[in-house]
Amino acid sequence: MALERSEVEKIAHLARLGLNEADIPRTTETLNNILGLIDLMQAVDTTGIEPLAHPLEATQRLRQDQVTEQNQRDAYQAIAPAVQDGLYLVPKVIE
């Protein structure tokens, strides 16, 4: 399954990666090389095989419903690019 330029642009948008116009042909080629490697997998017969999401197949532990966190806003926002009045700032959100 070779990717077209338009698909590469679509994926880049999904992943919110700004593509440089000049880089698109090379990115497309690289991705197609990688997909060529991955596509070798399609030949494997996996009929009746259950997917394995986690190697150990353990089950989820549950946490007690207790508040254990204190307010640390100042420390956490000290590393933020833009804050005001305790809020993280982003360009206007349009609903």
């Binding site: 494997v44 989820q60 833009a82």
Partner: protein
């Protein structure tokens, strides 16, 4: 002093031959002097290291003991360290001062270990050459024109060059074992869930495991002892008691059944490496091990499956780097989409972007079954192969890598060629098994590693066998010229 192993340091500190402060000062001086050649550190934490060393000396003076009390080490720069830059080798996190400590960091600090700094790595642990770091390539101390392997390449180069006795690393597809092999170290990837992932910046959550890199199996045992254990903050952490890894190092390996997968010795393997692997098998046989051929029929499918699963998880794990709450943010975003797209395109390097794109594609509508689900089914086939093999053998042995360290830049424009170098290591990650790489000789002056894989939670067995092997061989004691 820089030639001392962790075990020797523990003895020296206990016998008061030197203090942790003296040792730390000496190694910091060595780093300042030699690391410019290697680029193995992203951040050297001189002040906090000396404080930790002083505190360790005081604890010892107050009667405390412990193998890691006052022992110097460094962390791969994806373990979060409170108040210290944690960059993941990325421009994205160049300005990221972690607001908390990873569990591994906290545990080792509590044991009294002294952290000298944060080591260089492939960006977001994606790579096997340590060339994708925002902070530049790391050089292999055995030949400065060659790569040290990756992604824990900074940890490996620093330990191999005797800047440190040991360092932490992480292994998602071989990122501890492969650089260990390429720099003549011993490196262990524990069973998935053995070491907490809390604070270890994720590449691929179901594959990532932290572990030790050191010059000897004995030191790996000491460091793993400090890293391993259940952590309630990590849902995938396993609540199993941690055995005393040092206690079983001396056990006899007589009767140990070692399997050699016939698939390992195919055309892709450098024949000189094959020869060294067979020589290491002979050594183990001399120690009483019994060797038989086995088969891992689905091994060849591991690379494609891995390069779907790891990028898929990564594409999602790396979505949080969006320029909003931490990390890199582009200049003057004109709107929200622009903020995302430029922050991420400018903050991530090419290989990270490749993998994010591959992962997003593999999970996207219409391709999920063909890629992601198929990869997970192959993952089960691979695990089943191992489970079947471990019915007949105790350990599986083979090369860690198909080739010795390549020249810096040689595979830069060909990610697929680099991916193929992972062929021997990634199956352990897919199956969640523990594996160790230990020195097995040299090809053209470059180190070669032999890998052992064991059933779940048998890290002790791996360390035991590696230690016995290292008692009768001296590959691991070789020091690169100039270091």
């Amino acid at each position: 002093m820089h030639q001392l192993t962790l075990a020797e340091i523990a003895q020296g500190l206990a016998a008061k031959k030197f203090s942790s402060v003296e040792l730390t000062q000496s190694l910091l001086a060595r780093i300042a002097q030699l690391d410019p050649q290697l680029n193995s550190f992203i951040t050297v934490t001189q002040d906090s290291a000396l404080q930790q060393a002083k505190a360790a000396d005081e604890r010892r003076a107050a009667g405390e003991t412990g193998a890691l009390l006052g022992a110097p080490l460094a962390h791969k720069d994806l373990f979060c360290t409170q108040g210290i830059r944690t960059s993941c080798g990325s421009k994205m996190l160049d300005n990221f001062t972690a607001p908390y400590d990873a569990t591994v960091v906290a545990k080792l600090a509590a044991a009294g270990a002294v952290s000298l700094g944060k080591t260089n790595m492939d960006e977001f642990a994606m790579g096997s050459a340590n060339e994708s770091s925002h902070y530049g390539a790391v050089k292999n101390p055995w030949n400065l024109e060659h790569v040290p392997g990756g992604s824990s390449g900074g940890s490996a180069a620093a330990v191999a060059a005797r800047l440190l006795p040991a360092a932490t690393g992480t292994d998602t597809g071989g990122s501890i074992r492969q650089p260990a092999a390429l720099t003549n170290l011993t490196g262990l990837k524990p069973t998935y869930g053995r070491v907490s992932r809390w604070g270890m910046i994720a590449y691929a959550s179901s594959l990532d495991q932290g572990g030790p890199l050191a010059r000897t199996a004995e030191d790996c045992a000491l460091l793993l002892q400090g890293m391993a254990g259940f952590d309630a903050k990590d849902s995938t952490s396993v609540d199993e008691p941690v055995p005393d890894y040092s206690a079983t190092l001396g056990d006899s390996i007589k009767g140990l059944r070692i399997g050699l997968p016939k698939e390992y010795f195919s055309a892709g393997l450098d024949p000189r490496i094959a020869e060294l692997i067979h020589a290491s098998v002979k050594e183990l046989e001399k120690l009483g091990a019994v060797v038989k051929e086995i088969s891992l029929p689905n091994m060849q499918h591991a690379i494609p499956a891995y390069y779907v699963i790891a990028p898929a998880e990564a594409s999602s794990n790396l979505s949080r780097f969006d320029g909003v709450r931490f990390g890199y943010r582009c200049e003057d975003p004109k709107d929200l989409t622009d903020l995302y797209k430029r922050s991420r395109a400018e903050g991530f390097g090419a290989e990270v972007q490749n993998r994010i794109m591959v992962g997003a594609y593999a999970l996207s509508a219409g391709y999920y079954d063909a890629y992601y689900l198929q990869a997970q089914k192959i993952r089960r086939l691979i695990k089943n192969d191992f489970m079947a093999a471990f019915q007949d053998v105790d350990l599986i042995l083979g090369p860690t890598t198909p080739n010795p360290a390549w020249k810096i830049g040689a595979k830069n424009n060909d990610p697929v060629a680099a991916y193929l170098e992972d062929v021997y290591t990634i199956t352990a990650n897919l199956a969640g098994l523990p594996g160790i790489s230990m020195p097995a000789g040299f090809v053209d002056g470059l180190p070669v590693g032999v890998q052992l894989l064991a059933p779940y939670f048998q890290e002790g067995r791996l360390l035991n066998v590696a230690h016995q092997y290292q008692l009768t061989t001296d590959w691991h004691t070789r020091t690169p010229t100039g270091f």
